[in-house]
């Protein structure tokens, strides 16, 4: 492996501002660019959720500024149902693609994968730069969809045709807005494919001497498996997006069947299948859930081991579980489609494969608890987020045991139970992984420490807040409350549930407000935070043995040699309670 590393050194440290910070080849700069893009997106997505929650709890509320920006969607500042749906669509889309896919994998992965494996950069630095700027372009197109004539699409982040295929005749936002949405998603797919190739090649080819696959930190395993999932999943979504664009603009009928009558007008299409889109979309969509959560699992494992001062419990089992989840994730997409009209026989097969994917997920949980067993736990802020991750992963995971059974799903499908389930697991748990990573790695990325006290306050409000928001949504699901309803006034059975919606909104606003604490401590630390040492957490992996912040080639020309596994904490006989991967000798190991 050493040879591959030497053969690679391709770029000199850049001189000009633009080469250094804008069109940079440096994986560290690109990682931070991705992180900042996600940070912008998460606050945008959150703002949209404020509008969504406001409309659900207090319909008819006047928000004057909305009336100014969106005279069509919110005349006099009062949201229309279609405006609600377009905000809902954009909230989901922005969060899934530009936050959950971007921050944990492209952000942290770009920054730390090369350093953790002992490489001076990603395998293809130019491709890396491209993948970020293509992602940026995709975000610009996505945000533009909000401001075009007719507004953002109202078809949800799943964009089921024919609703998404027919254009404005099917509803507002389904014209230009929908086209831009599909275009943006397609561009995002290209960026993700470029990134995925880079991650895979880097992991296989660029490891330092002694860094065998079974000595990789679990973060690297998570990024590696995630990259494979992204490579296989985003290609399919890209194809689906292109077909949908063609249905809209080139007169094809991949997803539009014959004989449709929309708004009393016969549609001139025939031969397509709405279910085809659902198969393609969920073939991407389910692995996407794991693309969002696996890096969080990696980060949580990494952080737990560090602050337990203990090797990770069952390293090999953790690696195999990651692979198992990754493999199974491609066999389960049909559980989104039990009610879709596909063959009911297929439902049983998908139900069983989905049950299978729950087993490696449980293995992860057992091993996290095993890591805590016999530990010496240090309650840093990063550790709190990792512990919160474990709690939420369990809570969000087990509700999957309702939805993987077609018979039970008959009742719960497309109710708030599903909203609760996927927010808990791929929304909130994944975000907790991102926050854990942020509090843990910030010192290395920016050379300064985040405020631990305020970080803990941020954690506690968020942790209690997300339970207070999403637990009650399970109960709304029990009561049969359908999701994606702009108003709750047309059905008698929804009336008693309005109180719960109000209560959820109040907790949502509180929790969202607490995120500004994070923003404040983030930017405060960026400029005024305490200077960080090389290894503030006394951790073992290679990112903690390089200078803070790391030099352009990460190692100052001397590539590390790896002598042991990633989590050697509390080794009997060692001088300190951690032995870095690069330390040649256990007994005399010093940071």
């Amino acid at each position: 492996m050493g040879e591959a590393v030497q053969a690679h050194s391709v770029h000199e440290a850049p001189a000009g501002f633009i080469r250094k910070y804008i069109f940079s080849y440096d994986h560290k700069v690109i990682g931070i660019q991705y992180y900042m893009l996600a940070l912008f997106s998460v606050f945008l997505g959150m703002t949209l959720s404020v509008l969504v929650r406001l409309n659900l709890a207090w319909p008819g509320t006047e928000v004057p500024i909305l009336g100014t920006i969106f005279p069509e969607g919110a005349p006099d500042g009062v949201m229309t149902p279609e405006f609600y749906l377009s905000m809902l669509t954009m909230h989901g889309t922005i969060m899934v693609f530009f936050v959950l896919t971007t921050a944990p994998q492209s952000g942290f992965g770009n920054y730390f994968l090369p350093i953790q494996i002992g490489a001076d950069d990603m395998a293809f630095p130019t491709l890396n730069m491209l993948s970020f700027w293509v992602t940026f372009l995709s975000l610009v197109v996505m945000v533009a969809a909000i401001f075009v004539q007719g507004g953002a699409p109202i078809s949800g982040w799943t964009a089921y045709p024919p609703l998404s295929a027919l254009g404005e005749i099917a509803g507002p936002g389904l014209g230009t807005g929908q086209s831009l949405w599909i275009l943006s998603v397609a561009i995002f797919c290209i960026a993700s494919l470029l990134g995925a190739i880079n991650f895979i090649v880097t992991t296989i080819d660029m490891r330092a001497e002694g860094m065998s696959m079974m000595r990789l930190p679990l973060t690297c395993w998570a990024w590696f498996v995630t990259a494979i999932l992204a490579l296989l999943a985003f290609g399919v979504l890209l194809a689906a997006g292109v077909l949908l664009l063609m249905d809209r603009h080139a007169g094809t009928s991949f997803f539009i069947p014959g004989g449709l009558v929309v708004s009393d007008k016969l549609i001139d299409h025939k031969g397509g299948s709405p279910l085809l889109w659902q198969h393609l979309f969920w073939f991407f969509g389910h692995p996407e859930v794991y693309i969002a959560i696996l890096p969080g699992m990696g980060a949580a494992s990494h952080i737990l081991s560090t602050f337990c001062r203990k090797p990770i419990f069952g390293y090999k089992a953790m690696v195999y579980a990651l692979m198992g989840i990754g493999f199974c994730s491609f066999l389960v997409w049909g559980h989104h489609m039990f009610m879709s009209g596909m063959s009911p026989y297929t439902a049983i097969v998908f139900s069983l494969t989905t049950t299978a994917v729950a087993v490696p997920s449980a293995i992860k949980t057992f091993n996290w608890l095993g890591t805590l067993w016999g530990a010496r736990i240090q309650f840093t802020t990063a550790m709190l987020w990792a512990l919160g991750f474990v709690s939420l992963f369990v809570t969000g995971g087990i509700s999957g045991l309702f939805l993987n059974q077609p018979a039970v799903d008959v009742y719960l499908h497309d109710t708030y139970f599903v909203v609760a389930h996927f927010h808990m697991i791929m929304g909130v748990a994944a975000i907790f992984g991102i926050f854990g990573g942020t509090y843990y790695w910030f010192p290395k990325m920016f050379g300064r420490m985040l405020n631990e006290t305020w970080g803990k306050i941020h954690f506690w409000i968020t942790f209690v807040g997300v339970y207070a928001i999403f637990m009650p949504m399970h109960f709304l699901g029990f009561a049969g409350h359908p999701r994606r309803y702009a108003e709750l006034t047309s059905f008698e059975f929804l009336e008693p549930l309005a109180a719960v919606q109000k209560y959820i909104s109040m907790f949502a606003f509180t929790t969202i407000a607490a995120q500004f604490i994070f923003l404040a401590i983030f930017f405060w630390a960026l400029f005024r935070g305490k200077k960080a040492d090389i290894n503030p957490w006394k951790a073992t992996t290679i990112e903690w043995s390089v200078p803070t912040p790391p030099p352009h080639d990460n190692f100052g020309g001397e590539f590390p040699v790896v002598h042991r596994g990633p989590y050697e904490y509390s080794v009997p006989g060692a001088a300190e309670d951690f032995v870095p991967q690069t330390a040649p000798d256990v007994a005399t190991a010093k940071s």
Partner: protein, 261 residues
């Protein structure tokens, strides 16, 4: 300690709110719903136990093993035997829960309809439901999309030249006889909708270009709301209809009244 107390409190509150059934499934009105509700409860109990055990254990471990002066962490890389045990145990519990439940799904979808089934066609459109009864001849007349004329009163495009269509009844609300096997033929004119009746424990997408059967047997006389459960556009939230479960006599007279109107 603080972490443990908070996490235990969250667990306790979640359990209390669930056991109290403050927000719950509505009263049941269909035959297959008995088994479905039982499977739901079984799943709730199994996942509830896992939830409580995992959160309590998490809280316990962080209290028990927090950093204290003089404490050293165990140096252990795991235990292969334990890995095998908990992997197998999880697999057994999960599959033991999920496999028997498949029979409920099979009874709904994989058993062909009986001879005496009452067949009703349901067609979704933005944003209403069209319910069609075949009339006295028991046959649904032919539909031609090009004849569709919402304002002219032919929402489904019934072909007047087909003799079978002359006595077809198209109404915005539904009635079915109690304790009879019902088969709804779900269709859509425009985009994908989903037919959802909470009390009957039925939900099925209505997909344009397809006719999807949905079978159930209502067991309780009553009046229930029909909701759309698949995002279908700006009026999705008001795509409402009703279904009445009637005795055989009431059903017959309902059909007669509707036909006369």
């Amino acid at each position: 300690m603080f972490f443990a107390i908070i996490i235990w409190l969250i667990t306790l509150v979640s359990v209390v709110l669930t056991v109290g059934k403050y927000w719950w499934l509505p009263e049941l009105a269909s035959e297959h719903g008995v088994a479905l509700d039982r499977q739901f409860m079984l799943t709730l109990v199994v996942t509830g136990i896992i939830f409580v055990l995992a959160q309590v254990a998490l809280g316990y471990l962080v209290v028990r093993y927090k950093d204290r002066p003089g404490r050293t962490a165990d140096y252990s890389h795991g235990n292969d035997k334990l890995e095998v045990v908990w992997t197998l145990a999880t697999a057994v519990v999960f599959f033991a829960l999920v496999i028997p439940g498949q029979s409920i799904w099979a009874s709904l979808h994989l058993i062909p309809p009986t001879e005496d089934v009452v067949r009703i066609e349901v067609t979704g459109q933005q944003f209403s439901w069209n319910i069609r009864y075949p009339g006295a001849d028991g046959k649904f007349g032919q539909l031609k999309p090009e004849l569709t004329d919402d304002s002219g009163g032919n929402a489904l495009g019934l072909d007047p030249d087909d003799p079978a269509s002359s006595d077809d009844l198209v109404v915005p609300v539904m009635a079915v006889p109690v304790n009879r096997n019902i088969e709804l033929m779900l269709r859509s004119k425009d985009v994908t909708h989903a037919f959802f009746v909470r009390e009957l424990r039925i939900k099925q997408d209505a997909v344009p270009g397809m006719t999807i059967p949905l079978r159930f047997k209502p067991t309780k006389i009553g009046h229930y709301e029909v909701a759309c459960a698949e995002l279908c556009g700006l009026g999705h939230h008001k795509m409402r209809s009703t279904i009445q479960i009637l005795s055989d006599e009431d059903y017959a007279s309902w059909l007669k009244d509707q036909a006369e109107e």
